[in-house]
Amino acid sequence: MSKEPDILTLLSAYRDGELSPREREKVEKALAADPALQARLVDMEAVSLRLHEALQMRAAGADLAGFSDRVMQRLGKRRAPLLERLRVALSEMLEFRPLQLAAGAVAAVLIVAVSVVALRSGPVDTGAPQIAEAPAEPPRLVAPGERVAMTRESLVKVLSVNAPEGRDTMLLSSNGTTLIYVQ
């Protein structure tokens, strides 16, 4: 088998500056001794140069106006992990908006403080019936026909106090509905 492919392969890499010092020396010796090999190197150089030019011309001449916008439109919004987003947001605020950051922190502390005070001051009257609320009066006997306050808003009328024996149960009515009240 001819040695030519080997030296030509090396010649191609020589042209690209990709040979080891030993290989380069080998090619340079061959080039010095062989004008035909020199002519091949010139050919390789010419083809590489013109191909490079052709590719560059194509790249430079391409109409890529709006290309990056079209790419960006095709992308979904990338969401970094939550901690990463918080870290970035905080560092940006510290760098660019320290006053706003301080004001935000004060506002957050105030909101928490007001909430705690409001919770300690008891439930807020929302207007809904407080069914489970205990009567303010001490326990006492009721009579049939008597109206008994079950909630703040409503009275119920006692229909009967005849509870079955051993059970403290009464029948009451409220707005036409019969209820069973168990003490």
Binding site: P5, D43, A54, Q56
Partner: protein
């Protein structure tokens, strides 16, 4: 000051979309040129270039940063272009493998191309004509030769980067490039002989 690729990538990974747009603008022409060199069609090349950036965006977390961003991007582009060529081939569309069949490169007589193509700057009309010949010859090469030539000649990618991008040993890069060039020379010699044998289209200015 221009931010380097890795800084832009880091910013993008932190959620900064503008950083990604800057990367697109930085590489769009190169990516387009690689795609065009492979498929030789403007619209398809732009589609492939767009898709390459979309893939980068989608798989950014897979990028380890142990190689250059552009080698990764070029790899994605090149793979997309090859997928396109193969799908065309499967559909029986124009894909000439005539050259692929002749694996033995019988090189034309040395020095002919150097004379015809020249190595100095040329008039723009001649450059355009020559560029068309080069593109035509390139499109006739088997895809693996087209791919390696485009990557090498567009940007002077090193053999080490080529080996990384193409996932082949460095020794294979060397031999594949030689075979690609040999085929290219053979094709170009045929084109130039069919044109104007009395004068080189690459005659130099001056």
């Amino acid at each position: 000051m221009e931010l380097d690729d890795l800084t832009l990538l880091r910013r993008f990974q932190e959620g900064d979309q503008r950083a990604f747009k800057l990367l697109v603008e930085r590489y769009q022409r190169k990516v387009y040129a690689i795609a065009y060199g492979m498929v030789k069609d403007r619209d398809t090349a732009e589609d492939i270039a767009q898709e390459a950036f979309v893939r980068v965006h989608r798989y950014i977390d897979h990028f380890k940063g142990d190689s250059s961003f552009y080698t990764w991007l070029y790899r994605i582009t090149s793979n997309l272009a090859i997928d396109h060529l193969r799908s065309q081939k499967a559909r029986g569309e124009a894909y000439d493998e005539a050259v692929q069949a002749s694996e033995s490169e019988t090189l034309p007589e040395g020095g002919v191309l150097g004379t015809r193509l020249g190595t100095n700057p040329q008039k723009s009309a001649l450059r355009r004509e020559l560029a068309e010949k080069m593109e035509e010859a390139l499109s006739q090469l088997p895809e693996k030769h087209r791919e390696i030539l485009v990557l090498r000649e567009l940007d002077g990618m090193s053999y080490e980067d080529l080996a990384r991008v193409l996932k082949i040993p460095k020794g294979t890069v060397m031999s594949r490039l030689f075979h690609a060039r040999a085929k290219m020379q053979k094709l170009l010699t045929g084109y130039l002989e069919g044109d104007r044998p009395e004068a080189g289209i690459g005659e130099e200015e001056g």
